[in-house]
């Protein structure tokens, strides 16, 4: 099947509809296996059972960043190739990426309570993720403010690309800021290199999260395409009625 076929939204819809049940099933299976392996993983000698938050926290962080990467590629698709599905892909990715980033922040904060003694520290990594969440919310706000779909598309694409260029700079400057002001009360997690007994469940969970992302993204793209079709059908209806009366 040539890739060009995917450009056709109808073709895309039929493929997605066939794929989604399988993807959903695979996601559930991987989550069951990953969570089971994670529960039975040994406790950390320093942090005890709380280390298991990592199985949610780390994959969420990865996918939070992956989401922005996806949006940047979609943004290129919107601005350069004017691919009909690119904007749909970008719009669908934003809330999902934001949700994963949010999960990362919440789990990080729950992890921080027993580890650092407080729900939030201005740790460089957490802070970078927070800025990423703010950028996500900005993109979502663009789509939310634009009354017409499509009008917000180019604006959001430009912001995605600016964000993609700016994110490494933000990451660097936050690191620099934090080490410059590093207060004595905050000690950083890290410690020994990761144990294989923890690594295996982590990788399974990462795969499960990735599949979850893909499933949600495809479903969300499908919904957006259908939403736009409904919209254009209603517009057409208004026109026809105008001609009839």
């Amino acid at each position: 099947m040539p890739v060009i076929d995917l450009a056709n939204p109808s073709r895309f819809l039929s493929i997605v509809n066939r794929l989604l049940p399988w993807l959903t099933a695979a996601t559930i299976i991987l989550f069951v296996v990953g969570l089971y392996r994670g529960m039975n993983a040994p406790d950390d000698y320093q942090q005890g059972a709380t280390v298991k938050i990592m199985f949610l926290h780390v994959p969420a962080a990865w996918l939070g960043m992956f989401g922005w990467g996806l949006m940047s590629v979609a943004a290129l698709g919107t601005l350069v190739w004017r691919h009909p599905l690119a904007d749909v892909a970008g719009k669908a990715a934003a809330p999902i990426g934001a949700a994963f980033t949010f999960i990362c922040l919440v789990t990080g904060s729950l992890w921080g309570r027993p580890t650092w003694g407080t729900y939030w520290v201005w740790d460089a990594r957490l802070t970078s993720m927070l800025v990423l969440l703010l950028l996500y919310l900005g993109v979502i706000a663009i789509y939310w403010t634009a009354e017409e779909p499509g009008r917000g598309a180019r604006a959001a694409a430009i912001l995605s690309l600016v964000g993609a260029v700016n994110l490494p700079i933000i990451k660097f400057s936050v690191d620099w800021w934090n080490t410059l002001h590093q207060p004595a009360s905050v000690f950083r997690i890290g410690g020994p290199t990761i144990d294989p007994a923890l690594l295996a469940p982590l990788l399974i969970m990462a795969l499960a999260f990735t599949l979850l992302f893909v499933t949600l993204h495809l479903a969300s793209m499908r919904n957006e395409i259908l939403r736009r079709r409904v919209r254009s059908m209603r517009l057409l209806q208004a026109q026809e009625l105008a001609e009839a009366t």
Binding site: E147, R234, L235, Q237, A238, Q239, A242, T245
Partner: protein
């Protein structure tokens, strides 16, 4: 009921728009205000609606409710249609019916302007003519005796203009009054003409 204007003057931004304007309009009568651009047609309508300050003179509604301002007994159909694009046609009209009037259902008013089939469509989807017709539906949804219409036929096609003329006719028969600003004919045969800008 009689709407009476005595020696009305209007100033906008330090410029005198018109001066010493007097007229009377009785129940069931219509008046078309004509004149070149800037002669103050819109200003006169907005003044009667209570939206432009009266520089000097007197405006009164004899035989009406003396305590209620004229603006609250009048409808103003301006160039802007005061509809929110994200609400549906029905919601938009229902809001004005509830806010300006007694909240009665708006189905009849929408039917009268042939928009009943678009009730659930967001107002953003309407064409200019459809929006105009929705504004006219507002005149019907909330009964008020005085209609102030600023170029009511703009962006209406011939059948819609015809429909508007019928609605205006019915309103006059019911004892209403109409003051319209217009450049051409709007379908009111027996309307008097008030020419502005000849002073």
């Amino acid at each position: 009921m009689q709407l009476k204007a005595e020696n009305l003057s209007c100033n906008r931004g330090g410029r005198e728009v018109f001066r010493n304007l007097s007229f009377g309009l009785k129940t069931g009568e219509a008046m078309v205000v004509t004149g070149r651009n800037g002669a103050g047609k819109s200003s006169l309508l907005r003044m009667i609606a209570g939206l432009v300050r009266i520089a000097s003179g007197r405006l009164s509604l004899e035989g009406g409710e003396p305590d209620i301002p004229i603006g609250e007994q009048a409808h103003y159909l301006g160039h802007q249609d005061a509809f929110k694009p994200t609400l549906t046609v029905g919601q938009n009209l229902q809001f004005w019916s509830g806010f300006l009037g007694d909240g009665r259902t708006v189905e009849g008013a929408l039917q009268a302007v042939d928009l009943a089939s678009l009730t659930d469509l967001p107002a953003a989807f309407l064409s200019a003519g459809q929006r105009r017709r929705l504004s006219i539906a507002r005149l019907l949804a909330v009964p008020r005796p005085i209609w102030l219409l600023d170029e009511p036929t703009s962006s209406l096609d011939a059948p819609s203009q015809q429909r508007l003329a019928e609605l205006m006719h019915v309103h006059l028969l019911d004892g209403g009054m109409i003051i319209a600003a217009a450049h051409g004919a709007i379908g009111l045969e027996r309307a008097r003409e008030l020419k502005l800008g000849l002073a």
